[in-house]
């Protein structure tokens, strides 16, 4: 409802106030069929009916044309984003009828042609590329009602057109769900590459659609376990570049890379407290792996576990009051929850003999990777132990779950198609989509802030 009004307001933001009020009055009183329910997506509904959307190639006038196929490229990026969101099915371009969009600028659309192929929404955009500047004019149509529901102008850079297209995707998501879109966030991950002499692992980042990959480490050794800070400006990772598994902090803006924990034995599996001021990690001092907290300079603040067993993979609850971690104190790796206030620890997972990699969402659900029948799947469970759900039944190993900051999506790695690659799915396990297609094997995703 809100977004509908917002869009109406935006589309006539240059109109005089009196006219605007008249418009609103007209919208509310004279046009009762403007009820937005039909195209507003209730993301909290247990089963979301996907909307059929058509995104034809962005058109342009000859004067503003980029290279051939550029308009199609932009449309593909947006259509793919919308599919990844899990709320849309993008109709194949082959199904489009010729001439169904006659002139976007004049809203000359043959709505019947679009409804014929099943489209409920039509996203018809034009672009204008002049030098390095790139302008998009966005129009979203409700095909059933034969009406434009949203108009927007977006400005960006041509050599960064993917970012501009992702911004457009975010606009559509916000318009239809009232939620911030995820398409301007990034994933950090590990890429395993085959060198001439040995296999090595480097940290990379990419857009959530898997494109725009950027390499962050160049040690040709072992760089693993990247963890994005809550503000998205820093990255923790573990590297063997100084002879053993030690913890490093990279500042992404400046590229400054500092070693912050180089104690004997393990300095691994670090995770950020929600305020970004302290880090929980596993230190072994060469002897027994326990969970500690350290500050950003690496000074030990506290020791949280004192147990002969293996204690690893600490992760904070969104309010910072609890911590989930993995321990084999019962004989096999299981997930435990520790109350950081009173120090009480209780076991969370009881099904299966091998449950690891907990990750705690902002919506208070815990995802983890569990082995059953020799295969790993991604499960989710409530912090009180109820509502266990297997999200990835069938098809290879599924590991390294990682929540999106809004808690509505999971990134994970799977070898269901051979080597390990990155996938996304909704919090309920729907819409599992492979996003990484680069050389090597990709694992260990960490999601930046939105």
């Amino acid at each position: 409802m809100k977004s509908r009004f917002v869009s109406t307001l935006k589309s006539c933001n240059k109109a005089k106030p009196a006219f605007l009020i008249l418009m609103l009055w007209a919208a509310v009183v004279l046009v009762p069929n403007l009820a937005p329910a039909r195209i507003f997506i209730d993301i909290n509904a247990p089963a979301v009916q996907k909307l059929q959307i058509a995104v034809p190639a962005f058109s342009t006038r000859a004067s503003g044309a980029a290279e051939p196929g550029f308009g199609g490229k932009l449309a593909d990026i947006v259509a793919n984003d919308l599919e990844i969101s899990g709320y849309f099915v993008s109709i194949e371009e082959d199904a489009f009828l010729p001439g169904a969009v006659k002139d976007v600028a004049r809203d000359a659309i043959r709505f019947k042609d679009w409804s014929l192929i099943g489209a409920e929404l039509l996203l018809a955009c034009t672009y204008n590329a002049i030098g390095q500047s790139l302008e998009l004019e966005v129009r979203l149509y409700d095909v059933f009602r034969a009406r434009r529901v949203y108009t927007k102008r977006l400005l960006g850079k041509r050599n960064d057109h993917r970012t501009l297209a992702h911004r457009l995707s975010n606009e559509i998501i916000y318009l239809l769900t009232g939620q911030k879109g995820m398409f301007l966030s990034r994933l950090a991950y590990v890429n395993r590459l085959q060198g001439k002499e040995n296999v090595y692992k480097e940290i990379f980042t990419c857009d959530v659609d898997g494109h725009n990959a950027e390499q962050l480490t160049f040690d040709k050794g072992l760089s693993i376990l990247p963890r994005w800070s809550p503000d998205g400006k820093k990255l923790l990772y573990v590297s063997y570049k100084d002879g053993g598994p030690m913890l490093y902090l990279k500042e992404l803006g400046t590229g400054v890379d500092r070693r912050i924990s180089a104690r004997k034995g393990l300095n691994i599996g670090a995770n950020w407290a929600p305020d970004g001021r302290q880090i929980a990690l596993t230190l072994s001092h060469g002897d027994n792996p326990d969970i500690y907290t350290i500050d950003l300079k690496g000074n030990i603040l506290d020791r949280l576990t004192r147990h002969w067993g293996i204690d690893v993979s600490p992760v904070y609850s969104p309010d910072g009051r609890k911590m989930a971690f993995v321990s084999n104190r019962s004989g096999s790796p299981q997930i435990y929850i520790r109350d950081l206030q009173n120090g009480e620890e209780r076991r969370l997972t009881f099904e299966g003999k091998y449950n690891t990699s907990p990750t705690w969402s902002s919506l208070n659900r815990i995802a983890f990777s569990g082995m059953d029948g020799g295969r790993f799947d991604i499960y989710t469970i409530n912090a009180d132990g109820t509502g266990l759900q297997n999200l990835t039944q069938g098809g290879g190993n599924n590991e390294d779950p990682c929540w999106s900051p809004d808690g509505r999506y999971l990134a994970f790695s799977s070898n269901r198609e051979g080597g390990y690659h990155l996938y996304l799915m909704t919090a309920g396990g729907r819409n599992q989509t492979r996003i990484s297609f680069q050389e090597g094997e990709q694992t260990s995703p960490s999601w930046s802030h939105y």
């Binding site: 072992l222 693993i224 598994p245 393990l266 691994i268 993979s313 690891t356 390294d400």
Partner: protein
């Protein structure tokens, strides 16, 4: 300074030896291709000022014996390093055959006090990197503790865990996993 003195000495030796070569080149054929022979050349030629067939044969024999000992040592090192010990899934307890292998290693270390050992703990690919890094450390420590219980000083033992990051067999099946759940042993001085 030292270098300069050495250089003058070598020039002298080479001058002498080239003189000798002209007079008695028949005696100087053997071992010329040997890398180690080249290094020892000054010593050989120096003493060759009093040429004697028996003396030469004696030294050559000695040199060959030294080489043989080196080869033997390298074989021992290779043997030491080639024997891994293996673990069950999610376990770091030493199996009986691993204990035998470690006893052999301890005995060798006892006889070769100039060597230290680096123990690398590894896991198969199943499970998380983090848990496996901890498990790999456990496996390395299990072997280290056993060696220490046999009297090898802790100062001569280093441990490192590679978790699942350095598989010996890159395949994804039971055979590969069994080969990857291991401790490797690297000697250093």
């Amino acid at each position: 300074m030292k270098k300069k003195a050495l250089f003058v000495w070598m020039v002298l030796v080479i001058a002498c030896s080239s003189l000798l070569l002209m007079t008695s080149c028949a005696k100087k054929q053997i071992g010329a291709g040997e890398a180690e022979g080249m290094q020892e050349q000054p010593a050989v030629t120096e003493e060759a000022e009093v040429p004697s067939d028996e003396g030469y044969a004696e030294r050559e024999k000695q040199r060959q014996a030294e080489l043989e000992a080196l080869r033997q040592k390298q074989l021992e090192i290779d043997a030491f390093e080639s024997v891994n010990i293996y673990f069950d899934f999610d376990k770091s307890e030493l199996k009986p055959e691993s204990q035998i292998a470690l006893k052999n290693k301890a005995a060798w270390l006892e006889n070769n006090p100039e060597y230290s050992v680096r123990i690398e703990g590894h896991c198969d690919e199943r499970g998380t990197n983090e848990y496996n890094l901890a498990l790999g450390e456990r496996r390395a420590n299990a072997a280290a503790n056993f060696l220490m219980s046999l009297g090898i000083s802790g100062d001569r033992i280093r441990t490192i865990s590679y978790g699942e990051e350095r598989p010996a067999d890159p395949r994804h099946n039971e055979t590969a996993w069994a080969r990857n759940r291991r401790d490797e042993f690297k000697l250093f001085k």
